[in-house]
């Protein structure tokens, strides 16, 4: 009995030893910087001072009053919200469609599946460059084909035009061109992520309920609606959540595609500008704290909805 307890105790100690490098590196390179960042949000600092200033200098709410009072914050958050919602729906929707398409075995399926993952694994800098090239108004292939095949009157500057006006039945409808283009890009780049996980779930699914539905005379749409989709719902929910968090915080894609111009200034690009152009660390940190708080609030809502549903079922 005593020997057993010592084994468990020894295991517990070994466990701590084995996990400690992980904890150390995550604490040093992620957690502490995060906390420091929150602290900076409450201090009066310029980028040049920050290396030398006392990390525990006087606290103030000035950064927050400044950031919360500027209309740029609210417009960047609104843009981020539209961008996130559109990107999540598009990428998860396309991923679901793609997974359903290659579900049944066929020749070359492995290769097709691998090809579907390409947009996601390729370096972001390279794929944004190709997109910019393809959409270039002067010699990009999209405008070239649009003009010669589809009779576009003039090239569309997809990444530099904030709003286009479409005439539909006499009414002028404003279209946020650049924002829609970056959302399309997100759909293209991140559908593979959803595809991968939905496919894994589909493969683990038992075939019996579907066979039973077929025998009972259910059509293909009914089978999907009532048998397949409900089983996919948990993984779709999880994917939507993950993609929402990552898109909300995303910096690279927009920075490399538009640089935040033409109505695509999302929150993290604005933080970058506060940091590098205005060199105002305090304001940059304050805005990121605002972002994090919003994200946590949204997650809390999500969690409450999940629990409600769970209780009803």
């Amino acid at each position: 009995m005593a020997r057993r307890r010592t084994l468990t105790q020894r295991d517990a100690r070994t466990g701590l030893v084995l996990i400690s490098p992980t904890l150390l590196i995550v604490l040093a390179a992620i957690v502490l910087p995060l906390l420091w960042s929150v602290l900076i949000a409450f201090q009066h600092l310029k980028l040049i001072q920050i290396g030398t200033a006392n990390p525990f200098s006087e606290l103030t709410l000035d950064n927050f009053t400044r950031v919360l009072g500027s209309s740029a914050l609210w417009s960047s958050l609104a843009t981020t919200t539209v961008y996130t919602t559109g990107s999540v729906i598009l990428s998860v929707g396309l991923g679901l469609l793609a997974a359903m398409l290659v579900r049944k075995p066929f020749r070359g399926r492995t290769l097709v599946r691998a090809a579907f993952l390409l947009p996601y694994i390729a370096p972001i800098v390279a794929v944004t460059f190709v997109w910019r090239m393809m959409l270039n108004p002067e010699f990009g292939i999209v405008n070239e084909l649009g003009q010669s095949w589809f009779g576009w009157a003039e090239p569309i500057p997809s990444l530099s035009q904030a709003t286009a006006r479409w005439n539909l039945l006499g009414a002028e409808i404003p279209i946020p061109t650049a924002l829609l283009t970056v959302i399309a890009f997100e759909g293209w780049r991140y559908f593979p992520f959803a595809f991968l996980f939905i496919m894994a779930r589909l493969e683990a699914m038992s075939a019996e309920p579907e066979e039973a539905a077929l025998v009972d005379g259910a059509g293909p749409f009914q089978t999907f609606r009532y048998i397949v989709f409900p089983q996919l719902l948990p993984v779709i929910g999880l994917l939507a959540l993950l993609r929402a968090i990552w898109t909300f915080n995303d910096f690279d894609d927009i920075f490399l595609l538009t640089g935040g111009a033409a109505g695509t200034q999302v929150a993290s690009v604005r933080i970058y500008e506060l940091l590098t152009v205005q060199r105002n660390v305090g304001a940059a940190s304050a805005q990121s704290v605002v972002m994090a708080v919003l994200l946590i609030a949204m997650l809390a809502v999500y969690w409450v909805i999940l629990r409600r549903r769970g209780e009803k079922v």
Partner: protein, 297 residues
């Protein structure tokens, strides 16, 4: 009689639908393939033609034999002293950063994942929450203090700092991937090892590691891809030191100066090719490793 005919009509309607869906399915698969492959094809086509040829006929999407050139690649790869963009140096930097990140991340994550999978240490359950919380914040938030810290420590502008950040960023996912696999190793085998007098470390090294090799390779590849593709931290930390740039950073900075588009595309191919080759060599391993345990939904 009438009931039978209703059933029959129902069935033939379904059959018609299925046929339409069958055709639609192939059309959509082709469309997806086109959307996924064309940008990469276009990247390659532009990279092997001179800029004059592109400007003359922007709609040409075939590879023409008489225009074919690799001068774009020579310009991208050649060192600055010879009028090139010095991508060979950038490739070396990227390789050093990516490979070191893989080694460090695995050295840290393997024992960590084993501990989370098997050992009842204090705070084991909180580890996941901690990791999840770290993904809630935008990377740029962490970048601000790290920038300052690294400047003070003299790590900014060095690849070591970058390797440290990439390791920290990938270790939580690496632990998640490895832990799922470690848990599939039967406990009975490990207990047999304990009986034979192996320590926990001995078990990890002699039993768990050899059995988990596929998962370890997959995790290593994942870290490699993240480190090779990363852009923001490279931009923030290395921008002042050209000789330390990674390929991603070098390529992004090319667009700022007057460089022909075809050369940019050659740079994009240089950046993308290693990842795509690596991916196709190990596709099965990688996709399996990433979603392992995810099937449960």
């Amino acid at each position: 009689m009438s009931a039978a005919s209703v059933v029959q009509r129902h069935f033939s309607k379904d059959r018609a639908w299925r046929r339409v869906l069958g055709v639609l399915r192939w059309a959509l698969i082709s469309l997806f393939l086109l959307a996924v492959l064309f940008p990469f094809y276009y990247m390659f086509v532009l990279s092997v033609k001179p800029i004059e040829s592109l400007l003359r006929d922007p709609g040409a999407i075939g590879i023409s034999i008489q225009d074919f050139t690799i001068s774009t690649y020579i310009e991208v790869l050649a060192p600055r002293s010879e009028g090139g963009q010095g991508f060979v140096t950038f490739l070396q930097n990227s390789a050093v950063v990516a490979i070191s990140s893989v080694i460090v991340a695995l050295l840290v994550a393997i024992p960590g994942a084993y501990a989370v999978a098997r050992l009842p240490f204090f705070g084991r359950r909180q580890v996941n929450t901690l990791f999840l919380a770290t993904y809630l914040f935008p990377a740029i938030v962490i970048a601000i203090p790290l920038f300052v810290l690294f400047t003070r420590l003299g790590l900014r502008g060095s690849l070591v700092g970058l390797i440290l950040v990439y390791t920290a960023q990938t270790v939580p996912v690496a632990i998640y991937m490895l832990r799922n696999y470690f848990e599939t190793v039967p406990v009975a085998i490990e207990e047999a090892g304990l009986m034979d007098g192996l320590s926990r470390l001995g078990i990890l090294r002699r039993i768990t590691l050899p059995l988990s090799l596929p998962s370890i390779v997959a995790t290593g590849l994942f870290v490699f891809m993240i480190a090779w593709n990363e852009f923001l931290f490279a931009l923030l930390f290395l921008i002042d030191k050209r000789e330390q740039w990674t390929v991603s950073l070098g390529l992004s900075q090319l667009s700022g100066i007057e460089v022909p588009t075809t050369v940019l595309m050659a740079g994009s191919v240089v950046l993308t090719l290693p990842i795509i080759v690596l991916f196709f060599m190990t596709e099965r391993l990688l996709t399996g490793g990433l979603t392992a345990g995810g099937e449960k939904g």
